[in-house]
């Protein structure tokens, strides 16, 4: 037995769904349970029942905008992964009740340091990895990830909770409680190591957009290249201003770091201002991106990483809702699921992924060995 079991249920009755999950996990001596549940489950009930079902394990998760399990892409379901100590040697689950409060992150990190007996800045990068699940609607992800990045070099990876595109309330779950406007941080000590994939399906074009005026708090760009944002974006696309919204999904912009794009996806236009799904700061130099094939690129990324890792036993996939929508529009959902048929996988459609910073339109994955 590998030490990992995946489970899922599409039964919308909480009691029955949790029973389903419990039965599938069976007799695994799980020390940690991670679950992702549709927002159509009552948040307090699903969190409490999951903890009651696995009293001897740490239990955490979040609400979603769609779920992934092994080769399936689901809606209105709950998916779970149970780990035993062969995979997760140790863990510490903490909650920051106010996702944007930087002092809370410092408190959480102090707790990690006390638990593991090592300062965060001295932890071995290959021995520890963090998972970060945070509120998907409070626009605090950049501050959160920046604070984490300042306080540690340990990789924290994760996603922003969803609510099935209702855009009203999202939840994170930890040890029987449900929280909104909050962050769950889990510092793991995997028993046999881990690896990471960040994949997005875009070519970097030569067209540049410099952010010359922005309102970071509202994720708004007022000017690119000293011109009204929508005009400058239309200009680099070579299309009329009235048409630019049609290009948001296929032509977002990217912050390029070591030839890799960190995607910032446009959300809407207000006047001449462009609003993004993540923070775009004054002074940033962005490149116009053009979309490529999600299936082909994800398959390549996953297969080459699995060949490199050899002994992968589990994948957590933080998969942007914008990619889910694109796959649905192209009728490629099933094909996407099949990419993960070889390794036990769970994941969810996020309202943004977290890796070094807050990013959009990626599948960002944590692989356990």
């Amino acid at each position: 037995m590998s030490g990992v079991i995946t489970a899922y249920s599409t039964n919308l009755n909480v009691n029955d769904a949790v029973k389903d999950i419990k039965n599938q996990i069976g007799s695994l001596d799980a020390n940690l349970i991670l679950f992702f549940a549709s927002s159509n489950f009552d948040p307090n009930e699903i969190s409490r029942k999951m903890k009651e079902a696995f009293v001897n394990a740490g239990v955490f998760g979040c609400s979603t905008a769609g779920e992934l399990v092994d080769d399936k892409v689901l809606k209105n379901s709950i998916v779970a992964m149970a780990f035993n100590s062969n995979v997760i040697g140790d863990y510490k689950v903490e909650v920051s009740a106010n996702a944007g409060d930087e002092e809370n992150i410092a408190r959480v990190f102090k707790s990690f340091e006390e638990y593991y007996g090592t300062p965060m800045l001295e932890m071995n990068l290959e021995e520890y990895v963090g998972i970060v699940l945070t509120d998907g609607l409070d626009a605090s992800q950049e501050r959160l990830m920046q604070k984490i990045g300042f306080l540690t070099d340990i990789t924290f990876i994760g996603g922003s909770a969803g609510d099935d595109l209702k855009f009203k309330t999202t939840y994170v779950y930890a040890n029987g409680e449900a929280y909104t406007g909050a962050t769950v941080l889990v510092l793991l000590k995997p028993a046999k190591g881990f690896d990471i994939i960040k994949t997005q399906s875009f070519n970097i074009t030569d067209q540049k957009l410099s952010v010359t005026k922005a309102n970071a708090m509202n994720r708004e760009v007022l000017e690119f290249n000293n011109k009204p944002a929508t005009y400058a974006y239309a200009e680099v696309l070579g299309v009329p201003v009235a048409d630019v919204e049609k290009y948001f999904m296929s032509n977002p912009v990217g912050l390029i770091i070591d030839r890799e794009p960190y995607v910032r996806s446009p959300q809407q236009i207000i006047g001449d201002t462009m609003v993004f799904y993540c923070n775009v700061l004054e002074g940033m130099e962005l490149s116009l991106l053009e979309s490529t094939d999600i299936i082909k690129d994800t398959k390549n990324a996953v297969e080459s990483k699995l060949a490199e890792v050899e002994s992968a036993v589990a994948i957590l996939n933080f998969h942007c809702i914008l990619r889910t929508l694109e796959l649905e529009a192209k009728n490629q959902t099933e094909e996407y699921g099949k990419i993960f048929s070889k390794v036990p996988t769970i994941g969810f459609s996020t309202y943004g992924e977290n890796y070094l910073g807050h990013i959009n339109q990626t599948s960002t994955m944590l692989i356990f060995k």
């Binding site: 920046q146 070099d153 912050l255 770091i257 070591d258 002074g283 130099e285 070094l356 910073g357």
Partner: protein, 68 residues
């Protein structure tokens, strides 16, 4: 005056990474994600006080002492 920004960037990366190539790379990424367009600066770049203030704040948040 010129070149102070790239000097400060290099010092932040050096002090944080302490010789680790991986940490040097992630620190560079964190600076870019914080709005420092690293590719725009070299030894001849003007000392933009706003950028220098931002770098001082980042260094402070990282717990690094940078004296230039």
């Amino acid at each position: 005056m010129a070149g102070k920004i790239i000097k400060m960037v290099n010092l932040i990366i050096e002090k944080r990474a302490k010789g680790s190539e991986i940490i040097a790379k992630t620190t560079k990424a964190k600076l870019v994600l914080s709005g420092i367009a690293l590719d725009n600066y070299n030894e001849t770049s003007a000392d933009d006080e706003d950028v220098l203030a931002k770098l001082r704040e980042i260094a402070n948040n990282m717990g690094l002492e940078i004296n230039l």
